[in-house]
Amino acid sequence: MSADLDPPSDGPWAQAWKRLRRNAMAIAGLVVVSVMALAATFAGTVAPFDPRISESWETSLPPGARHLDLVNEFVVTAGQAPRERDVPPWLHDGLGDGHDHACELDVVAEEVKQLRVTMDGAKVTKIQGDGARTLAKVELGPEDHLRVKDAGTRIEAKALEPGMALPEGVPAKTGRWVLFAEWVRIAPDAKRTVRVAYGYGTVSAVTVAGAAHAGEMRIRAEHVRDLRVDGARKEHVHVLGTDLNGYDVLSRIIFGARISLLVGLVATLVSLSIGVLYGAVSGYAGGRTDVLMMRAVDVLYAMPYIFLVIVLLTVFDRNLIVLFVALGLVQWLTPARVVRGQILSIKRREFVDAAVTLGTTPWRILVRHLIPNTMGVVVVFTTLTIPAVILEESFLSFIGLTVKFGGEPIDSWGALVDSGRNALGVNGERWWMLVFPGAAMSLTLFSMNFLGDGLRDALDPRQKGRG
């Protein structure tokens, strides 16, 4: 949008630009909007993660959380080039650069079974594991142990069954409470270090605890405790945390911006094209045509639009095109009225008369002479309509009408806010899933409104301060 503002040498546009520059808030808005638009355009490059790939063991991480740089599961086979899907992120840069790389993974191959133990004081009343299954008894093998989840303390017991009292060391509570226990079963070679050597794009060797490993080796990320590549620990950061499904919140916001801004921009352009053309024709034609066209606008004004949009979106497939049309149809009425007013005021000017005398066709007069003169109003409307449309779209996402693109539901900001609201804990836990998408959206709306106000003041000083 900043391109629209290029000032032509020293006309009214240049003056407007000068006035706009004096308005600090509008300029701040312009900067924010430009940054958002750029981030959205180059989302693929800017976003630190692919928002469609969930790292399932990285769910609900707080902002700034560091994590080992791994994919869910990958396979290495000595003597073979890794398949594309088995290349962990840290290897992307190094693979095939002609150098040898060595990476070490500390793997703990333990199988953890989550147990939900319902307690009555210090007495075990019910054990659930394997999902909702109620277990009659948990018998621990010689290598197994139980530990209290989160606290990490071990429970010294050889078996767990309803009716028994928990051994010492577990802080008993009064009344009914729930103990989350982890039943840890450790394989004989539980802790081991896997060394993978890469040379010329191929896995040259896989060694486990010093011994060479032939054939395929599957490594699950949740078993990896530490990771070193060429001696350096490899981590990544989730600046704004991750959501319930392990998606990176920042990346989701950036990709969401793409949708929200695109929807805002396209729907606005649709509505403005219709509105400007309609208003211009109506104003220029005048007379009976004008009255009729404006009556139609009056009739349409009284429609409960959001309801029609909802009907449109539920009746037809909820794809972007339908949304553009639906939202565009809602917004064209006001520009049509305003543009008509403008046209009425300028069509009696000399240059129009001159063009008529020269035999220019009415259509040409409209397009070449009249419409360009309404551009000020159009620019203002654009900046004020975009946030309105963004808000409408997010509102639709929120009430469950998520729009789809290429058959995929799109996580626009509204959808992100909705899932953030659902994830919000009673004491504000997981706040980042609501606050950051909400803030991104509010900041954008805020900036656009300021920019729009600023532009209106700059282009039409008489209107200053209105609304």
Binding site: N72, G131, V178, F180, K404, P409, G425
Partner: protein
């Protein structure tokens, strides 16, 4: 079948004898109503508890959404089912723990030797809430009306009855062709066309519940309004504020009024799951039947949280009429490439149970089938055998699902696993619920997400639909051997042998054929205050309200009592 029914009649009789004995010993809990003289000893369901006498017995709970109707014959959803359970009573009712059919409006029943003729003996003291006696004719009329009612979408519940299917499908006008006969004012004789092991369970189902003829004829569509409705269940409708609340009070005319301890139920209709959960936390309701996906982690930390296996299976159908899924090897490869444990633990996170069979576990006496599990190496080998080594040359396929965040997450995980383990790219395709249903019906999909909730606790509810040409098959799959197994199971009257046949049928489905891909068995989760007693976990989330009571005051009950209601 016959054996089972007889055994059941026997247990009833012996329960009767045992009751008499128990009564002599005076072991009845204090305050319990007298034992039912007829057969089943209902006083065993009167759970003793301290403190209930001094507590206002008002149970406030959230029923999720506004019921579409209160007419039992027209109901289809779970929300409505819960209400029907309180307002109406079929010939049989549910045991609150085991869900086995126990006497309801009928105090006993006899089953003929071949298992096809059921004679129901109605209680002489059973009455409608307006005092009218409840007779066999009421049932006959209600059933005929249900079969004629266009809005009754569960007509298939009647289809074990002789002539019922023809009456509907062939637009038969003559009711005498249907095997339902009133032999005396309190005796109803029902003739089935083949034995049906679960017919008594159907008798407790809402579609077969009676409605009051005079009220329907007088008020038409308005008969379910609180001022008009006449019911025969443990509770009567007091207040119905649509989208807000329904309030019920005990039905004074119900034959077993003495067992009902609740003085009022306030049933909210909060459909937003986040709001519902917040309402529970703030003490506004004492039972919520489900928990928003985003709140599960939070809820699991609370002692009031419960999770119970639910009679339902989440699976994906394959379109077996078109390549590549016309090849069982491909279907099996797709199955074995999925690590269902990961889906349950990292996506769903509510204790769902990974499934390798189709019949949901927990059906009494039916063994859970363990089919082939996650094995990516084998899956790749199978795909190679089918002609797609490393997924090369695999045609374009997609997964069809109805728009929903959780379905999307499951589907994304599947796609990721197929990509990793088979090298096959599968795309996602979602539609609106109603469109999705049409697409499924027309078989315009490659892989389709599906779920099936059992209507009754019998394996047949999961297995019958895979027979050739069944309306819910929707895969195009057909097997003569399978059809034969199912047909033989219907005729089998020995319950053990019948289960063996059904188990064999499940094995046939889930070893090599896989017209579908089972993912997990549903669970049901919610929050319940410890003060609420008489509530038992079970696989259908049915908790007959007549047995519930509060052992102590809760914030919600106190607030409801305080507002003068």
């Amino acid at each position: 079948m016959r054996f089972r029914a007889f055994a059941y009649a026997l247990t009833l009789l012996s329960a009767f004898a045992a009751t008499a004995a128990a009564e002599d010993e005076g072991k009845k809990p204090e305050g319990a109503p007298p034992a039912d003289p007829a057969g089943f000893d209902f006083s065993t369901l009167f759970e003793p508890g301290d403190g209930w006498r001094s507590t206002r017995q008002i149970f406030v709970w959230n029923n999720e959404t506004e019921p579409e109707t209160l007419d039992p014959a027209v109901m289809t959803g779970v929300t409505e089912h819960q209400l029907a359970l309180a307002l109406f009573e079929g010939l049989a009712s549910h045991h609150p723990e085991t869900l086995e059919p126990i006497p309801g409006a009928a105090w006993k029943w006899d089953v003929s030797a071949d298992g096809t003729v059921y004679t129901f003996h109605l209680r002489k003291d059973a009455r409608w809430s307006n005092g009218d006696p409840l007779t066999a004719e009421d049932f006959r009329w209600s059933w005929e009306r249900a079969l004629r009612e266009p809005n009754c979408q569960y007509k298939e519940m009647f289809f074990p009855i002789r002539g019922a299917e023809a009456f509907v499908e062939a637009n038969e006008k003559d009711w005498s062709t249907v095997g339902v006969a009133v032999t005396s004012p309190h005796t109803l004789t029902v003739t089935l066309h083949t034995p049906c092991a679960y017919f008594l369970e159907l008798c407790a189902f809402e579609t077969l519940m009676p409605v009051h003829r005079r009220t329907l004829e007088q008020f038409g569509q308005l008969w379910t309004r609180p001022e008009n409705i006449v019911v025969n269940g443990p509770f009567a409708l007091d207040v119905w504020k649509p989208r807000d609340r329904i309030e019920m009070v005990p039905n004074a005319k119900w034959w077993n009024r003495g067992i009902v301890r609740l003085e009022r139920m306030v049933i909210r209709a909060i459909d937003d799951q986040s709001t519902s959960y917040n309402e529970y936390l703030s003490g506004g309701v004492d039972w919520i039947r489900s928990i928003a996906a985003g709140k599960v982690t939070d809820a699991q930390q609370q002692a009031d949280y419960y999770v119970q296996p639910y009679l339902g299976t989440y699976f994906f159908r394959f379109n077996t009429t078109e390549p590549p899924f016309d090849d069982p090897k491909v279907r099996k490869a797709f199955n074995q490439a999925i690590d269902k444990r990961v889906i349950c633990e990292t996506v769903l996170k509510a204790g769902q149970v990974p499934a390798t069979g189709i019949v949901s576990p927990g059906i009494h006496g039916f063994p859970e089938f363990k089919g082939p599990g996650y094995d990516p190496v084998k899956a790749r080998a199978l795909l190679a055998e089918a002609g797609f080594p490393e997924g090369k040359g695999f045609p374009k396929v997609d997964v069809l699902y109805n728009t929903s965040e959780s379905h999307k997450q499951v589907c994304e995980k599947l796609v990721e696993m197929w990509k990793t383990n088979l090298g096959v790219t599968v795309t996602l395709r979602n539609c609106e619920w109603k469109v999705y249903l049409e697409e499924t019906r027309k078989l315009s999909y490659s892989i389709q997400r599906a779920g099936w909730i059992g209507d009754y606790a019998d394996p047949a509810t999961f297995l019958d639909m895979w027979c050739t040409g069944r309306g819910n098959n929707n895969t195009g799959w057909s097997s003569a051997a399978y059809d034969d197994l199912l047909a033989r199971s219907t005729k089998e009257t020995d319950p053990a042998k019948r289960y063996a046949l059904l188990a064999e049928a499940e094995k046939l489905l889930c070893t090599d054929e896989f017209p579908f891909m089972p993912i997990y068995f549903y669970v049901n989760q919610g929050m319940l205050r410890p003060e609420v007693r008489g509530w038992h976990e079970n696989i259908r989330d049915l908790h007959p309200f007549q047995y519930l009571f509060l052992a102590g005051p809760t914030k919600a009950s106190a607030a409801a009592a305080g507002s003068g209601k």
